[in-house]
């Protein structure tokens, strides 16, 4: 039975400063929330083991600085990404409007092999704030944008209360896995290096 050798899934979280990227990551991985996370400088990542069917994967979640000025660093951090998470704050129109910039910037810098089908997931965060009264971006508006960009999956989350975080990352992991699949090289379960190279040599000579 063939299985993939692949075990690492790389996910990049992007979005304006202060929309809750670090909080979402920490809520998902550590089940914790703090309102004292410092502004991210440079980049960092957390990892979490996830299981799909009977296979284990390491989800590597990259948290980056939210200020546009640091975007030139992206080249180093975005490469090899399997999924990109775009986060905005439902209480900030600007952060929603910037989603398009973040998406385009990501596609330019990460230059995935198939940009049309590269998996994004959009999270509208901070739905808990002020009981939803300070909300300025409606769910409908967000979903419309997601639909227009090739049916990007959309979740409304609260990193503070943990709302929908697990579900969102399940989806993110699944999409990351799918994205890899197209380019996946299938290898036999166990590889006998000597045997397979012999085989290959034989094949070439034929």
């Amino acid at each position: 039975m063939p299985s993939r050798r692949r075990t690492l899934l790389k996910v990049i979280i992007l979005g304006d400063s202060g929309v809750g990227k670090t909080s979402l990551m920490n809520q998902y991985v550590n089940k914790k929330f703090s309102n004292q996370y410092k502004a991210t400088i440079g980049a960092d990542f957390l990892t979490k083991e996830v299981q799909f069917e009977d296979r284990l994967f390491t989800l590597q979640i990259w948290d980056t600085a939210g200020q546009e000025r640091f975007q030139s660093l992206g080249v180093a951090f975005y490469r090899g990404a399997d999924c990109c998470v775009l986060v905005y704050d439902v209480n900030s129109m600007k952060s929603f409007e910037n989603l398009n910039n973040w998406r385009e910037e990501f596609l330019i810098q990460a230059s995935p092999s198939d940009p049309e089908n590269f998996p994004f997931v959009v999270l509208g965060n901070k739905v808990d704030v002020d009981g939803g009264n300070s909300r300025v971006v409606s769910e409908k508006k967000a979903r419309a944008w997601c639909a227009s960009k090739g049916n990007i999956p959309y979740f409304e989350t609260s990193a503070k209360e943990g709302t929908n975080v697990e579900e969102a990352f399940q989806c993110i992991a699944k999409n990351a896995l799918k994205s890899g699949e197209e380019e996946e090289i299938y290898l036999p379960d166990t590889i006998d290096v000597a045997a397979s190279s012999q085989q290959r040599t034989g094949g070439c000579e034929c």
Binding site: G18, V29, A39, G42, D44, F45, Q60, R69, L73
Partner: protein, 631 residues
Amino acid sequence: MNRSDSNKQSSSGEQEGAEIVYVKDNVAIHPTQYASERISGRLKLIKQGGSLLMTWIPYKGQSSSARLSEKDKSLYTIRAVPFSDVRSIRRHTPTLGWQYVIVVLSSGLAFPPLYFYNGGVREFLATIKHHAYLVRSADDANVFLVNDFQDPLQRTLSSLELPRAVSVTNTPSSAAAPSESPSSWTDGETFDRNSALAQQNARQRQKNNDPARDLSIQVLEKFSLVTRFARETTSQLFWEAQGDGFIPNDRRKHDKKTHDYPRIAESNNIQKLPEDVPVPEDPLEFDKVSLVWGKPRQPPLGIEEWSAFLDSEGRVTDSEEVRKRIFYGGVEQGLRKEVWPFLLGYHSYDSTYAEREYLVSVKKSEYETIKNQWKSISKEQAKRFTKFRERKGLIEKDVVRTDRSISFYDEDDSPNIKSLRDILLTYSFYNFDLGYCQGMSDLLSPILYVMGDESESFWCFVALMERLGPNFNRDQNGMHSQLFALSKLVELLDIPLHNYFKKNDCLNYFFCFRWVLIQFKREFEFEKTMRLWEVLWTHYKSEHLHLYVCVSILKRYRRKIIGEEMDFDTLLKFINELSGHIDLDAILRDAEALCICAGENGEACIPPGTPPSLPVDDASMYYQQDDDDVL
């Protein structure tokens, strides 16, 4: 000897209750190959309390050479080193020339070879043995281990496979050829031989350029093979010592502290010392024999000592001396408020009390004027002023998450948080082109904490940003030039590590981005950050000491980085997690030593105008394009 007697009471660090158990005159070091530049002095062993100390004090005014100043001589002085800090002593008894010893400290550093012109090495060792724990190494009869040495050292020594008997060749110059190196790692199958070659080339190259290196090569040539093997041995000892920064025990502690972060998959075998991967020796360790490493840190500058630096009208009479003093010890917390404005360049050293008082009052009203520019923006006006709203929003988001664990900032409606905001917003008007950028609140926070007053903090911050502003440029040119310089410095000071980074696609040095952008603000606790900053701001040894700090941290963990074959991701994670675990004093001493060692070659690695140097062309540096986010 009269000469040495007169020296006896001077700066040897002797105190009451100390007993001199060994004295030897005419013990010399050879900083260069020139006989005229040898420095003779008196070696002493002193018993004080329960511990044994070693001192070596050069004779005063004895040198025949004009090239050796008293300052140079004092650089080599060994001041009361306790034997608890000594790792080993290697004895050399060449058939030609004088006997000498190399004293290796447990930190891995070593003093220059001490030549016993009048003999007495045996007596020296016997005296130590009498007063401290000294055993002869099982592997090498000429190595004496001090204190409790365990397996690692034995292992190292046996791995060297040193020839038992070394004959003295009659062609000294060939002895210096590195191709004969018996280093064990070149035999490792997995290690890239190109790196080995590159390392040798670099040695060759640096041998030609680097005065510090020349110094050691010259000693090497002089004493032929015997010396060379000694040096190789010593370098291996250092190499072993490198591991000490992160032995498994340390790692456990480290893990415990960060237990809420699951360990990344690649480092599951993190507990295991990386023995299977050959780690190339650190080429610089090779040289440490010939250098006296960074001086011990001093207590911080206090108010009395500071007052003595001021004349009756408040001018700093010897700014160089003040900066030197702060470089080695920092400043007491209570005095920082007075001293930092000088270090930052807000006050000039030759200003009087009256001039400073006047400046402060003028600057205060200037600050209020600028602050009023944004204070007077009405709600209606703000509605039509997107850039202002966005900038303000970004600053407000950041100030409430800056150093909130410090009591100075911990209250939710702390007036100090409001001051942070006001200063940053005012700065973004003062320097509208640069605006606000994340990281600035980290740089301002300790300044406000120290200065207290809003206007004073603002102007100190302005002075700091004169130098660090380019870190925040849209095109990141300030950051790129510093990371570039850092890569060049590592190439100069640790070619195998450089080759390792090259091979693993790590030469962009983005893993050091946070270190450089905010001057290690996130790497140390608050107090230590302030200590580090004031040392950096002295610009005493170099304007770019922070880059040497980077190199010294990387060197300290090189064995782990290379041994565990860290890739870019793992390295970034590792560096991020070093936060809170870096020994500042040790790193500063290393950085000073590296800076001295790199000398002019080091400065040549750093392009002109690289922050924190003042910009070459002030006007163009901050220019931002119109389509900038300007946040």
